[in-house]
Symmetry: C2
């Protein structure tokens, strides 16, 4: 058995049985090892941004890490943007990055680069395995780091000789997943007292608190005490729709968020962080809360948030039978006429199937999607967490592989979709049940707004040239066809509704280019 | 005038008048500043790998740096692979990377990351400007670094407030480009004596030594003294074809390179490094030369290589009128029948127009291209230098912008082409005179060979799944159409020759999907 085999065995012993990959020469021994393990599902992405984004989507839905396989520093480099997003989503992930054989590094061959330096900003843990006999222990440590709450990114750099050399002792002792820490008695008393104080209080939720179970407890607390609940602006996963507790997010635009939070006197953080502006603007504050707001860090996202919520309810004397309002399924009217993003949200909200997984990278086009879907069929909502565009199509890839019996609906802006359009090929290759909706507004719409915000007036030649996706316009139907995904264009709400209905009624990938 | 304006002015004052860009919110003040400078040509890439690869291609042909504009750490991340290649090509480049306003960083907003850490492995110089008044000096230093021989990558991180704040003194003092250092008298005597010793000697060339002028001097030395000349395996730019001195490169495969270099007793390095294997393989050496080969580091690539070659010729008493054999234009017969990579090379070699720029990322399909094109029309040859795939289409973009009157021929493998296919949109948008030839072998062919090399036998399910680009196959004609580039498929040599003839006879982008 060589080091690469022992790595495969270690991953499988810890239930990591999906590997998103784009290998190269330095990973060929690991590829050969994977070839000897049919129980490992290998999913090829035609670009590493697809690989890391898919591993993120998989883990968000499977609640366990996938492995990635990347080719040296440049392969890692291509995956960095979506690793950044995964880090911000607190996604567990184990990256395997091949490197040159240890003795070859000193020759500074063309592909040599400082992989550890590139990995550090997007990893909670980075290690280069020194030799084949260290692989099992190093990989086990990587997995334990990935598992640690709320989910972390561990990057294991595997030199080619550590992969190909024989292992003298490859004994694997599978570890159990570590349990998340619990809040202290002092903390729960402080939070309960704050709520009892009668001040205007908000519970700000993220992480596991946004699963159906956590939301239900939070909703019960809100209903019993009058506190308000709100979700962080960016969250890895929210369970929403009929049968769940309705929750809004901190608004994206600083003005809107500040107005929305204006009367909050106390904020209790449960897996969330104090809300801050996505970007700074001249003469505008970076934070949204009034300076004298009392911020209570009740439960960090490294803690067991369901337990923290339930204990808080108990401490407040709220029984599990206390009333909580759940969203009721309502059928919206299907709009007609010229297509726009509101009509798309309405149609999807009305027509999405039960237990769909909505992946949202619609950027400015989808800001109101939440409002139209509280009463939709129950669904999971996965979003762009780190602001690095190009995650939507990969994230959908991974979610579909984690949940083959659920329909994935990818809401994809055109500008960000172009970043990792290669994911469409993986949709076709793996026959994934994904409906992709391209919001084809043919511009970086968000940036047109931002240019206005900086007071630059009307965009001139250079600015227009950098913010508009025209001359030529993109033809997403052809792009999808080029990668084996069936596609069609919708220019009216009727066409969109028809296409969406037929796409959701069948299995397999389909792309709708929505001209808005 | 704000910091962003002063940055534009500094760039323009140093003849940097092309900016390859994909901006975001944190760069909006710089975009607004660019908008006030119509003399700056802004070229949008729909992914940052396009941006950095295009800046590389531009600088290789223009012999001066372009600027890039990238959006925080994630935008830089997307550009890292092609920055790695540019670093290996010794390309001058000035990266401008926006960051959050300095005072906003402490809030760790979603897009915050350690930009300096990510930039360091691919940059010779990295600096974060502290405030608007430092912009001119910092940018000037960045430009001087980029200019320094043989060409370096300078990365300037521009916080949003350094861009938007007013500048109290924006006086720009344009500097002159520093001259490359010259070899010492001692070095030229040592090299001349080595050649006179009668040992079997090779001049290994790279950098400026591979321009027509350098090659002619090297050819004259070779002809007068019997030394052999060879080019490094990877070079940023080689001037080839009729009227130039023929030169081969160090071979890619270790066995071939070792055999080719077996009788070399002395190697004189002129802008080149000792040849090493691209990858290590079990039980194979990392280097190609015999251990007792005398390696003479005559002229490093930071030196004036034309001067170093001419001085060596003078020292050896070789007059400028000494005979040197130049390639003669020969018309090859146009092959017919089923298409393969050899026929493609033959056809392109025979039909390429005068002063074409050949961009080569054909990987395994194009290894023999050199052999078929010594006698072609004179052309420049730009290749993948750092092994990070996904440079071909971007490199062609930049080369075409630098040389609008020359035809660019991009030889593009399908697997690597998928990495940065977004560049095709820029080909259409900028109406670039590029013929792209896709070598559609529908696999990572190089990796099939490598899998064999590691002794893994025939690829099984997992390995095949990761190395073959089938189920579905890619349809490059549709992909090109989706981005506004006309395209057609060739399955026979006749079809390919017809398409290539018509594509070179007209202006503008065209893609040929060559089914091999």
């Amino acid at each position: 058995m060589n080091g690469a085999d022992s790595l495969c065995d270690t991953l499988l012993a810890h239930e990591i049985d999906v590997c998103f990959a784009n290998p190269g020469t330095s990973e060929m021994h690991f590829v050969a090892a994977l070839d000897r393990k049919p129980e490992m599902r290998c999913v090829l992405g035609l670009f590493e941004g697809v690989v890391t984004g898919a591993a993120d989507g998989y883990a968000r839905m499977a609640d366990k890490p996938a492995a990635t396989l990347l080719h040296l520093g440049s392969g890692l480099g291509n995956g960095i943007a979506n690793l950044h997003n995964a880090r911000r989503a607190f996604t567990p992930m184990v990256n395997i990055i091949g490197d040159h054989a240890t003795y070859h590094l000193k020759y500074d061959a063309p592909l040599t680069s400082d992989i550890e330096a590139l990995a550090a900003p997007v990893s909670a843990w980075v290690r280069t395995t020194k030799n084949a006999n260290d692989v099992v222990l190093d990989a086990t440590e990587a997995i334990e780091v990935a598992w640690s709450a709320p989910g972390k990114i561990a990057t294991l750099i595997l030199p080619a000789d550590a992969a190909w050399n024989e292992v003298s002792d490859a004994k694997i002792i599978p570890r159990s997943r570590p349990k998340a820490a619990q809040v202290s008695e002092e903390a729960v008393r402080e939070a309960a007292n704050a709520i009892r104080s009668g001040k205007r209080t908000m519970l700000l939720l993220s992480g596991m608190a946004l699963r159906a179970e956590g939301l239900e407890i939070a909703g019960r607390i809100a209903q019993a005490t009058g506190v308000r609940i709100l979700a962080q602006q960016s969250n890895g996963r929210v369970q929403r729709g009929a049968g769940r507790v309705a929750i809004d997010r901190v608004k994206y635009r600083a003005e809107d968020a500040t107005a929305d939070l204006a009367d909050v006197e106390q904020m209790i953080l449960i897996g969330a962080r104090e809300p801050v502006a996505f970007f700074a603007y001249p003469y505008k504050p970076s934070t949204f809360l009034k300076p004298d707001t009392n911020i209570i860090e009740y439960a960090s996202n490294e803690m067991d948030l369901i337990h923290a919520l339930q204990w808080l309810a108990d401490e407040l004397g709220i029984p599990k039978t206390a009333p909580v309002t759940l969203n009721k399924r309502k059928k919206a009217l299907i709009p007609t006429g010229a297509l726009d993003s509101t009509k798309i949200a309405t149609i999807i909200g009305a027509m999405m199937p039960e237990q769909a997984i909505v992946v949202d990278e619609s950027i400015s086009s989808g800001r109101d999607f939440f409002n139209f879907t509280h009463d939709s069929a129950p669904h999971d909502f996965l979003q762009l967490t780190g602001g690095a565009i190009g995650i939507g199509l990969p994230l959908a890839t991974g979610a579909a592989i984690a949940c083959p019996d659920r329909k994935v609906i990818a809401l994809q802006a055109d500008g960000s979709g172009m970043y990792t359009l290669q994911a469409l090929w993986s949709h076709a290759r793996e026959e994934l049940d994904i409906v992709t909706v391209i919001f084809a507004n043919q511009r970086y719409a968000i940036l047109h707004n931002e240019l206005k915000n900086v007071g630059a007036g009307v965009a001139g030649r250079n600015a227009t040239h950098m913010l508009d996706l025209v001359n030529p316009t993109l033809d997403w139907v052809s792009l999808a066809k080029g990668m084996g995904v069936e596609a069609a264009r919708a220019t009216t709400a009727e066409e969109f509704a028809d296409l969406f209905a037929s796409a959701t009624a069948r299995k397999g990938p389909f792309l709708i280019e929505a001209m808005i």
